[in-house]
Amino acid sequence: MIPYEEVILEHWRNPRNKGRLPAPDVDVVEANPLCGDVIRLQLEVRDGRVKDVRFDGRGCAISQAAASLLTEMIKGKTIPDLKGFSDQELLTALGGVVKTRLSCALLPLRALKKALSSL
């Protein structure tokens, strides 16, 4: 059996930036009711940049690993940069995801888009 890509297993077992921010500027929840995956994403924004970020959630390894990885990728980025963040960027960073699970992998990105649109 080939388990998931190492990057997915590693982020799933050791999630980065997991938890809550004391005073987030944005706080969004995105869920996939079909499988019960839930991602909460919080951003602290200073001078047009993501100063800090946290996620919390539950669900499958892919959605949780993708959320963890995404928080690393967006920290320090400017808001206009993030608006151009593509699905492919995240999928590539995850080492590729089988097509039946794209909605899991992209759930955190949907949370990010929601966060950006409410800024």
Partner: protein, 403 residues
């Protein structure tokens, strides 16, 4: 015993180069070449719209369509005119809810449903209750995952007009005591609607013995084509029920401002019916009958018993539903500790093992079990004991990879 090698050879999908371990027959079954050929032959040689043409080809097509109806009736111990072809269980249950609702349900009346219903046997009743200002009364399950018959007995009353019950749960696998519920319903004058989507394909079934008033199932879960389903109802009841879909074929006479209905089953088959699919379903019934439904049941049971024993002996697995295989259809839902069902299904898929993961169209039940989703394996007449072993050992590897 069934000759498994011979059965498997009838299913082209298992002749692919990469072996397929298909453990999702509760979602849809595979089809034997006999069914595929019957549909193909129909289109090649017999195709014409049914009940319409005067020409001989149309008469032949009609005959095949009605023959299929008689075969289905024979399978469930019904009269052919009690068998209505629909496009599936879902349509049949919507028909039942609409039509019985018009006939029987008024303000303040009650409709009993259970916590283990598929959404198809829940939402139509929710909408009916709303439409008629009636009350939907849910009945729970026991910790073992069986219907709480005591609660049902307490909740049923002369206000109850309809009881909607799944025969075999597509998640818990539980075989519900339909005959006992039918007796309770009969005493208060309520009609019993049975969702047999997971039972009709898998066990001998006699509608009179069950004591149901209406019963529904889908062709695609019993070796037949997609797009065909069955609604059976007692003849007297079917005659009283108003039509659901209306239009061509289901009428006696039409004026500009009103119309009268044909007799059942035509009254409930508006428009061009799925006739090629009906012929395919007829071939599927022939296939099942030639094996014998009791043999099919015994085969499912042996696989289920083995899988259940294997799952229950693994301490990282939680199994939902009865622990006794005799009390189940060939369906087992389970979870691996701390691992999402989608991850389990994806990793098993890498080994060519197809299982289901999700809420299986039973969200209220999953909420009750306090889980977002579950894994599900389900068996049919083409599955083997070796496949159960392959599944169980692959499951150990999933656990090792993700624990």
């Amino acid at each position: 015993m069934m000759d498994l090698a011979k059965v498997r050879a009838d299913f082209p999908i298992f002749q692919k180069e990469r072996p397929l371990v298909y453990l999702d027959s509760a979602a849809t079954s595979q089809r034997p070449v006999q069914v595929i050929e019957a549909v193909s032959e129909f289109y090649r040689k017999k195709n014409a719209n049914v009940h319409r043409g005067i020409y001989s080809l149309a008469a032949e097509a009609t005959e095949l369509y009605e023959e299929a109806r008689a075969k289905v009736a024979g399978l469930i111990g019904a009269a052919p005119e009690e068998v209505v072809f629909t496009h599936g269980t879902t349509e049949a249950l919507n028909l039942a809810a609409f039509s019985l609702g018009e006939l029987l349900v008024g303000r303040g009346d009650e409709i009993l449903v259970t916590a283990m219903e598929h959404h198809a046997n829940l939402i139509p009743w929710q909408l009916l209750a709303k439409r008629k200002a009636a009350r939907l009364v849910p009945v729970g399950i026991t910790p073992e995952g069986e219907l709480d018959l005591g609660e049902l007995a307490r909740r049923i009353s002369p206000r109850t007009k309809i009881v909607a019950l799944v025969h075999v749960s597509n998640v818990l696998g539980t075989i519900n005591p339909v005959a006992e519920v039918a007796e309770l319903a009969r005493r208060v004058g309520a009609k019993l609607v049975v969702d047999a989507a997971q039972s009709a394909p898998h066990m001998p079934l006699d509608v009179r013995e069950l004591g149901a008033d209406l019963l529904t199932f889908s062709g695609h879960k019993m070796l037949g084509p997609t797009g065909i389903g069955v609604l059976w109802a007692r003849g007297e009841l079917l005659s009283e029920m108003p039509p659901f879909l209306v239009g061509g074929e289901m009428i006696r006479e039409v004026w500009l401002d009103h119309a009268t209905w044909a007799d059942p089953p035509a009254k409930f088959e508006a428009g061009t019916p799925p006739f090629a699919q009906a012929v395919g379903l007829g071939a599927a019934v022939d296939y099942l009958s030639s094996l014998g439904m009791e043999k099919v049941r015994q085969h499912d049971l042996a696989l289920t018993a083995k899988a259940l024993e294997g799952l229950l002996s693994r301490d990282y697995v939680t199994v939902y539903g009865p622990k006794d295989p005799e009390r189940r259809g060939g369906v087992i839902a389970f979870n691996l500790r701390g691992i999402h069902p989608h991850d389990v299904a994806t990793l098993l898929d890498q080994e060519g093992i197809a299982i289901r993961a999700g809420h299986h169209c039973a969200q209220p039940l999953h909420r009750l079990l306090d889980i977002p989703a579950s894994c599900r394996v389900s068996f049919y007449l083409y599955n083997s004991m070796e496949e159960v072993d392959l599944f169980l050992s692959a499951l150990d590897r999933v656990w090792e990879a993700l624990r």
